[in-house]
C-alpha cells in the first residue's frame, strides 16, 4: 500500500477558496501537500482538464479525493500505438 502510482487529479475550477486569489497552481499544490508533504506535481493542466498529475499511494489518493474542490482522482492509464 506504500507503493506510489501516478494519478490524474481533477479539480473544480469554480471551488478555489478565495484565500488563493485565483492562484490555481498554489491551490493545487497546497491540496496535494495536505495529504502528502513530499509529493510533487508532475504536470499542471488548465485547458484539457483543470488539475494536475502526481504520484501518490492509494491511501493518499483516497484522502485527497475527500478534500473540498477535488472532483476525482483517477489512476493514470497507459496507451499503446496502433
Amino acid at each position: 500500500s506504500a507503493e506510489k502510482q501516478t494519478y490524474i487529479v481533477h479539480m473544480s475550477h469554480h471551488h478555489i477558496p478565495p484565500s488563493f486569489n485565483q492562484d490555481h497552481t498554489h491551490w493545487f499544490d497546497s491540496s496535494l501537500k495536505s495529504v502528502s508533504p513530499s509529493a510533487e506535481m508532475i504536470y499542471t493542466y488548465q485547458n484539457v482538464i483543470h488539475g494536475f498529475s502526481t504520484r501518490l499511494t492509494a491511501q493518499e489518493a483516497e484522502s485527497l479525493e475527500t478534500l473540498p474542490g477535488i472532483i476525482s482522482v483517477l489512476p493514470e492509464l497507459k496507451y499503446e500505438l496502433h
Binding site: Y43, N47, V48, L77, K78, Y79, L81, H82
Partner: protein, 655 residues
C-alpha cells in the same frame, strides 16, 4: 505516402481544392513517438512563414536542436515526465530525451498526414512513386508522448494541453488504451477540450479486429478511423515440390534464393519447444533448419522477428502463415531473409504438404509491386470492429481509410523491421495498422479545414462520413477480408473516405460542445463525471429529457432491448436529426434501405428544402423493429439526395 493520393483521387486535387490555398495555414498536431526531421518529407521549399496564429515551439533535447524545425515542421515538443515518474529516467543509450523519433512510427504517421512531395520514394524498390502527405502543404507539429515503455496519460494530457495553446487545427492520435469510460479516458477528456477549441481530433480505431466490440477511441467528439486496403500489393509466390503454387506477400529485398527447389521444414518439427511452430527466439534446432526454408506460424512474437530467428538458426528462407486470427489478410514485411506471408487457407495446405511429404521442397518467387489489385478497398482483418462498447447507441467506427502496407517516412535510427539486428537504414518504410489510416483522415480533415475554414470539427467529420462509399463501382458492398463477405457498418462505419466528394457534401450534421454536454446528460453521468470531461460546473437540466439517439450524429445505431417489445411484438424508436445546408439552395428527398424485414424506417418530413447556406432543417426517423434473437444485427441506410448531392448515413440495429 505513395499510391494513396491516386487511390483517393487527390491527384486531381489541383481543381478540387482550389480554395485550399489556405492549406499552408493549417497545422496538424501529431501525438506519437516524435519525428526524424531530416526526412525529405519535411522539406519546406517554397513555404512561407508559419501562420501568424501559431504559438508552438521547437524544443531542444538529446540529438535535437531548434534548427531541426523549419517551415514544414513548425513545432516539436516532447513529454517524458509522466513516463519517467513511473519508469525512472529515460535511458539515453536507448532513446532520445527530445522530439527525435527513435522508433519510426511517429515519422510515418506525421509524414502521412502532411508530408511534402518527395519524388522517387520507395522502400528497397517497393511501392515506388512520389510520396506526399494527404495535406502536403499543411504544417506539422509533433508532440512526442510515446516512449519504449508506452504512452502515459499524464504525458498525453500535457501534450494535448500544449497543442491547444499552440493553436493546432487538427490533432492526430494513432494510439489507444482499453475501453475505459469517457470520464476515465485521458484521450477522450483531452479531445473534448480540443473539440471545444475547434480542433478536429482523429484517432485510430485499434487493431483488435475482427473481433466485435474491439474498438478504441469511441467518444462521439472523436473521429474514429478503421483500416482498409489499397489497390497495391507485393506478391511473392510459394512453389512446392508437389507442383502447387500459393500466393503470398513480401517486401524482402536482397540476395535471392538459388534457382532451384530447396529443402522445406515445418518449424513445429524442428524444435524442442511445444510452441516451436511460432519460430520464437531460441526455439529452432539449427541442425534441423540449416540450409532449409522454414514454415512458421503467425502469432505471439513479431512477424519480422520470426524471420530473424530462422536466419539465426541457419535457415535460408521462411514461409509465414496466417492463422485463424488473421485469415486471408496479407500484411507485407521487409524481412531480413527471403520470406513471404501467406493466408490461413494457403498456410493450412502448405503445412499439410510439409508435414506429410517425405522430402518436402519449396521455393519463393518475388514479384515486386503490383497495382490495380481488386477488389479494393477491403476492410483489414485487424481493423477493430463495433458495436461501440461504451455507448452502443453511437455507431463506431466512423469511417475507414488506407491502413494496409502504407509507405511513408521513417526514422534514421532504426531499420525497416525495427529489429535490433537490422542495420539497414531507409528513408521510407511500409507498415500497416489503424495507426496508418488515422493520419490519412487527419490529413484529409486538414485539407477540408483549409477549403472550409468556417466548418466545425463535427461538420468536417460529417462531410467525410456522409460522402464515404460503401460499395465498389460494380455495386457490390466493400468486402471484409476477415470473412470474405460484404462488410457492415460495424466494420466500415459510414464507409471508405472519399475526399473528392467530402469538400462538397451538400448538407452536414453539425454538433456543438453543448450538444455533447447533453449527450453526457443522456448517459446519466454524475455532475462530477460531467465536470471531469467538460470542465463545466453546470448540471443537467432536470426538466429536460435527454436522449442519446438525438445526438446529431451522421450515423444511426438503434439498440433494442428484449424488455421493450410493444404489444405487437415490435419496438418503436425515434431519432431526430438536424441538417445544415452548406451547398446551393435545393430540395432533398429521403430514401431509406433496410436489409431486414424486421426493421422498418419512416422519415418525417421526407422532403427538405433549403434556400440559403447554413439554413437548418430537422427530421425524425421512426424505427419500427420486430423481435429478433439477442445478438442479432440488421443494417440499412438513410440517404438525402437532391439529385446532385447524396448525404448518406449508415444504420445499425442491434438486439
Amino acid at each position: 505516402t505513395t499510391r494513396t493520393p491516386e487511390f483517393l483521387g487527390l491527384d486531381q486535387k489541383s481543381n478540387l481544392f482550389p480554395q485550399s490555398d489556405g492549406e499552408s495555414d493549417v497545422v496538424i498536431g501529431v501525438l506519437d513517438t516524435g519525428v526524424w526531421p531530416e526526412s525529405k518529407s519535411f522539406d519546406d521549399t517554397g513555404m512561407g512563414p508559419a501562420p501568424s496564429a501559431w504559438n508552438g515551439a521547437c524544443e531542444a533535447g538529446t540529438n535535437f536542436t531548434v534548427s531541426n524545425c523549419n517551415r514544414k515542421l513548425i513545432g516539436a515538443r516532447f513529454f517524458a515526465k509522466g513516463y519517467e515518474a513511473t519508469l525512472g529516467p529515460i535511458d539515453e543509450t536507448k532513446e532520445s530525451r527530445s522530439p527525435r523519433d527513435d522508433d519510426g512510427h511517429g515519422t510515418h504517421t506525421s509524414t502521412t498526414t502532411g508530408g511534402s512531395v518527395v519524388a522517387g520514394a520507395n522502400l528497397l524498390g517497393y511501392a515506388p512513386g512520389s510520396a506526399r502527405g494527404m495535406a502536403s502543404r499543411a504544417r506539422i507539429a509533433v508532440y512526442k508522448v510515446c516512449w519504449i515503455g508506452g504512452c502515459f496519460s499524464s504525458d498525453i494530457l500535457a501534450a494535448m494541453e500544449k497543442a491547444i495553446t499552440d493553436n493546432v487545427n487538427v490533432l492526430s492520435l494513432s494510439l489507444g488504451g482499453g475501453t475505459a469510460d469517457y470520464y476515465r479516458d485521458s484521450v477522450a477528456i483531452g479531445a473534448f477540450a480540443a473539440m471545444e477549441k475547434g480542433i478536429l481530433v482523429s484517432c485510430s480505431a485499434g487493431n483488435a479486429g475482427p473481433t466485435s466490440y474491439s474498438l478504441s477511441n469511441v467518444s462521439p467528439w472523436i473521429t474514429t478511423v478503421g483500416a482498409g486496403t489499397l489497390d497495391r500489393d507485393f506478391p511473392a509466390y510459394v512453389s512446392l515440390g508437389n507442383g502447387r503454387n500459393y500466393s503470398g506477400v513480401s517486401l524482402y529485398k536482397g540476395p535471392t534464393l538459388p534457382d532451384k527447389m530447396l529443402p522445406f521444414v515445418y518449424a513445429g518439427n524442428a524444435s524442442n519447444s511445444t510452441s516451436g511452430a511460432l519460430c520464437m527466439p531460441g526455439t529452432l534446432l539449427p541442425d534441423k533448419v540449416k540450409g532449409k526454408i522454414v514454415l512458421c506460424d503467425r502469432g505471439v512474437n513479431a512477424r519480422v522477428q520470426k524471420g530473424s530467428v530462422v536466419k539465426e538458426a541457419g535457415g535460408v528462407g521462411m514461409v509465414l502463415t496466417n492463422t485463424a486470427a488473421n485469415g486471408e489478410e496479407l500484411v507485407a514485411d521487409a524481412h531480413m531473409l527471403p520470406a513471404t506471408t501467406v493466408g490461413q487457407k494457403e498456410g493450412d495446405e502448405i503445412r499439410k504438404y510439409v508435414i506429410s511429404d517425405s522430402a518436402p521442397t519449396a521455393g519463393i518467387l518475388f514479384q515486386g509491386t503490383k497495382l490495380g489489385i481488386q477488389p479494393s478497398p477491403v476492410v483489414a482483418s485487424f481493423s477493430s470492429r463495433g458495436p461501440n462498447t461504451i455507448t452502443p447507441e453511437i455507431l463506431k467506427p466512423d469511417i475507414i481509410a488506407p491502413g494496409v502496407n502504407i509507405l511513408a517516412g521513417w526514422s534514421g535510427a532504426v531499420g525497416p523491421t525495427g529489429l535490433p539486428d537490422d542495420t539497414r537504414r531507409v528513408e521510407f518504410n511500409i507498415i500497416s495498422g489503424t495507426s496508418m489510416s488515422c493520419p490519412h483522415v487527419s490529413g484529409l480533415a486538414a485539407l477540408l479545414k483549409a477549403a472550409r475554414p468556417e466548418w466545425s470539427p463535427a461538420a468536417i467529420r460529417s462531410a467525410l462520413m456522409t460522402t464515404a462509399y460503401t460499395a465498389y463501382k460494380n455495386g457490390k458492398i466493400i468486402e471484409d477480408l476477415a470473412t470474405g463477405k460484404p462488410s457492415t457498418p460495424f466494420d466500415h462505419g459510414a464507409g471508405h473516405v472519399d475526399p473528392v466528394s467530402a469538400v462538397n457534401p451538400g448538407l452536414v450534421y453539425d454538433l456543438t460542445a453543448d450538444d455533447y454536454f447533453d449527450f453526457l446528460c443522456a448517459l446519466n453521468y454524475t455532475p462530477a463525471q460531467i465536470q471531469v470531461v467538460t470542465k463545466r460546473n453546470t448540471t443537467c437540466d432536470t426538466t429536460k429529457s435527454y436522449s442519446i439517439g438525438n445526438l446529431n450524429y451522421p450515423s444511426f445505431a438503434v439498440v433494442v432491448s428484449s424488455d421493450s417489445t410493444g404489444k405487437t411484438g415490435s419496438t418503436v424508436v425515434k431519432h431526430t436529426r438536424t441538417l445544415t445546408n452548406v451547398g446551393p439552395a435545393s430540395t432533398y428527398k429521403v430514401t431509406t434501405f433496410s436489409d431486414s424485414k424486421g426493421v422498418q424506417m419512416s422519415v418525417v418530413p421526407n422532403t427538405l428544402t433549403f434556400s440559403k447556406v447554413n439554413e437548418k432543417q430537422s427530421y425524425t426517423v421512426t424505427f419500427t423493429v420486430g423481435d429478433m434473437a439477442a445478438g442479432s444485427n440488421a443494417f440499412g441506410r438513410i440517404e438525402w439526395s437532391d439529385g446532385k448531392y447524396v448525404v448518406g448515413s449508415p444504420v445499425a440495429v442491434s438486439w
